[in-house]
Amino acid sequence: MTHALSPSRRQMLAAGFGSVVLPGTLSAQAPAQRPTELRIGVTTFLSGPASVFGVPGRQAAEMLAEEINREGGIGGVPIRLFFVDEAPGIDHLVGEFRRLVQNERVDVMFASISSGSCLACTPLAEELRKVTLLWDCGTQRIFEERRYQYAFRTQANATPEILAPLLYLMKTRPDFRTIAVLNQDYAWGRDSWEIWKTAMDVLKPGTRVVAELFPRFGATDFSAEVTRLLALRPDVILSTSWGGELDTFIRQANERRLFERSTFVLPLAESSLERVGRTLPAGHIVGSRGDHWHQHPRPANPQALQRFVEGFRRRTNAYPIYPAYHMAQAFSALRAAYARALQGGAAWPSDAQLAAAFNGLEFDSPTARMRIREDGQGLEPQLIGTTAHTDRFPFPVLDNMVIFPPELVTTPVGQNSVAWLRTLTPEILARVPDAIRAG
């Protein structure tokens, strides 16, 4: 927090508004000089319901920036972060995006948790020719609807994040016949159900959807929905809800023993585990929007994962949840891209040169080795597991984990997700890796 209050920044703003004449357009091609600091703008939720993701994202960013600066910065240049709150809405966010690029002259933007924010910021980044890493938003529309030269996603998108739990369900409980869905009534809730339904209809035709419930966004009472689900007795209940609503739904469903009747599939529940504790019973399917899990059974680099988890716990007194890992991925990709651009003693990269370094870039996430495809989409494995209670943790942990390789569940380059899902065949199940027991 302290660096955000530094007086130099306020002076900069004052000077900016006062009299300093800045060039109207920024040339992306201009040869760049090694700056005295590397400025990174981060848009994240600092207020509102989605701050359950935004604040851990910010805490991870601050921790990683300190770590990188202790090690001498990126390419010898220390980094400095500028945070923007996404909560006030698109007009504020787009204005702040411009301020960071045009006035604070940031070198890179890390854009957005909300898909709406990403959809607004990405074309703007392209117009301003500023390298932008989509660090957390889920919409698959971005790279499927348009090509971008300056935008890259350092994580997966909604398609693999929903397809993986479906495949996991079909592998572990192949005999389900009925399903109900309870999602938040907004773009993500609708999009994720469309992805699930499309894939389910081709992979397991004949499954009966007994209820499609979309309680309003921000709902605090699910008693009517729980009653209905108790009466309908679906084999499976899917919910892609998150944050306070997921916590509340889990608590209210548990009070009325809904968990005993149906198997829950909760693709985002990794972010709620520590908050709901043992209210979430064992035997239900949980995902983490990637392969993010502090007890990951096969991390590429166990020491790195442990260092990240312990560092984050020391700082925040909580286990990292997926936005913290996503932030780490964005930083790791940025470091790798600068290293690539500066290879062989090259001069400090211009915006265009930096953007070029991201194509096909490989970098380490806290748990795996990742790659950015030619369309800008990151290839991230997906870890899905079943909840289990142990004595080691006061909250449920994952067991019977399947780590889906990204190639299996990600829409190929240049294809539309919904169209691609329709071409799937049940043979894909044979390619799902075996489950790993918790150690």
């Binding site: 955000a4 209050l5 920044r9 306020r10 703003l13 900016g16 508004f17 006062g18 009299s19 300093v20 004449v21 800045l22 109207g24 357009t25 600092l46 207020s47 945070f83 923007v84 709150d85 006030p88 809405g89 698109i90 007009d91 504020h92 787009v94 204005g95 702040e96 411009r98 301020r99 690029v101 045009q102 006035n103 909300s114 898909s115 709406g116 959809l119 607004a120 074309p123 703007l124 117009e127 919409t139 529309r141 009534d185 907004y186 773009a187 993500w188 609708r190 309003r216 966004f217």
Partner: protein, 314 residues
């Protein structure tokens, strides 16, 4: 110097300052365009405030204007056509809704407007396949009167349009408030029955002001859509309406400059607050509003005109 002359001069001075600020810093142009657009919307609210009616739902018309641009842009990608089209759609909506909300007063008027704006918000959210829900719709690059402009020139064009519209609407609102129609608005606030005794229909008086305010809000929405180039249902949410009322109080309801001063102050406070303490900007905005309510009930315009009044007296 008399107050009206000072108002006109001050208006031009503020306009000149805005141009200077926009020239000196490119991102400021964006913030100020949004501020001008919001000022235009608040100007409409000011007309209703003159009649003592507070609308807690005028973001509805801002959203209608913005979504008109977003929906029409793929078929008519020209700003010069989209702006009047958006204003027309908002005016029609205002006329239709105004027919029955103008029967109500005070809390009922405010709450009905609020309810309708939330209905529109829910529709934008729920008709997911048409509106893309909360993700919103992207506005494609637009031409201006047939000319294809690069990004910076287009931004200047929208800024200039907003400034010209703000001046024009400001001058119009001032003339309107001084006209018998405007005086009748004031009479609704003091005692409505007197109007009826004079043979003037208060409903018609309020309805015409309501339609005008809807048109102004529609123009504001179109400008916002052309500036941010991405519209989301949040434009119609109750907090957006609250923001407009906040600006009206901050700027002061006494004169037509108030809304613009309020909008500029609001946007600048928000930007500077967000830049200094990214997670506490709401607190700073709230403190500013509290200070205005406690110590400057006439808003920014009230402070300025009181000072000018003293100067003229001396």
């Amino acid at each position: 110097m008399t107050l009206p002359r000072m108002e006109a001069l001050l208006g031009l001075l503020v306009a000149a300052l805005l141009v200077l600020a926009a020239l000196s810093t490119p991102w400021m142009k964006f913030v100020l365009t949004i501020a001008l657009a919001k000022g235009i919307a608040v100007l409409g609210i000011l007309l209703l405030l003159r009649a003592g009616q507070v609308s807690f739902g005028h973001a509805l018309y801002v959203a209608i204007g913005a979504y008109s641009v977003a929906f029409l842009a793929p078929s008519i990608p020209d700003a010069a056509l989209l702006l009047p089209a958006a204003a027309l759609v908002a005016t029609l909506a205002g006329a239709l809704i105004g027919l029955f909300v103008s029967r109500y007063r005070e809390i009922f008027f405010g709450m009905l407007n609020l309810a309708l704006s939330m209905v529109f918000y829910s529709m934008l959210e729920k008709f997911y396949h048409l509106t893309k829900g909360t993700d919103g719709i992207r506005v494609p690059p637009l031409t201006a009167a047939g000319m294809t402009l690069d990004r910076v020139t287009f931004e200047w064009t929208v800024f200039a349009t907003a400034l010209v519209l703000a001046l024009a609407f400001g001058a119009f609102a001032r003339a309107y408030l001084l006209s018998p129609m405007g005086e009748a608005l004031g009479a609704i606030k003091t005692r409505e029955t007197r109007l009826e005794f004079m043979g003037v229909s208060p409903r018609r008086v309020l309805l015409s002001a309501y339609i005008l305010s809807a048109m102004m809000a529609g123009c504001a929405g179109a400008l916002v859509a052309m500036t941010t180039r991405h519209v989301t249902p949040l434009l119609s949410y109750w907090t957006a309406s609250g923001e407009l009322v906040f600006i009206a109080i901050l700027g002061g309801a006494g004169g037509v400059l108030g809304p613009f001063l309020g909008a500029i102050a609001y946007e600048l406070v928000r930007v500077y607050a967000a830049a200094t303490v990214a997670d506490m900007w709401q607190m700073i905005l709230g403190a500013v509003l509290l200070l205005v309510i406690l110590f400057a009930r006439g808003g920014i315009w009230g402070l300025l005109s009181a000072r000018a009044g003293k100067g003229a007296g001396a």
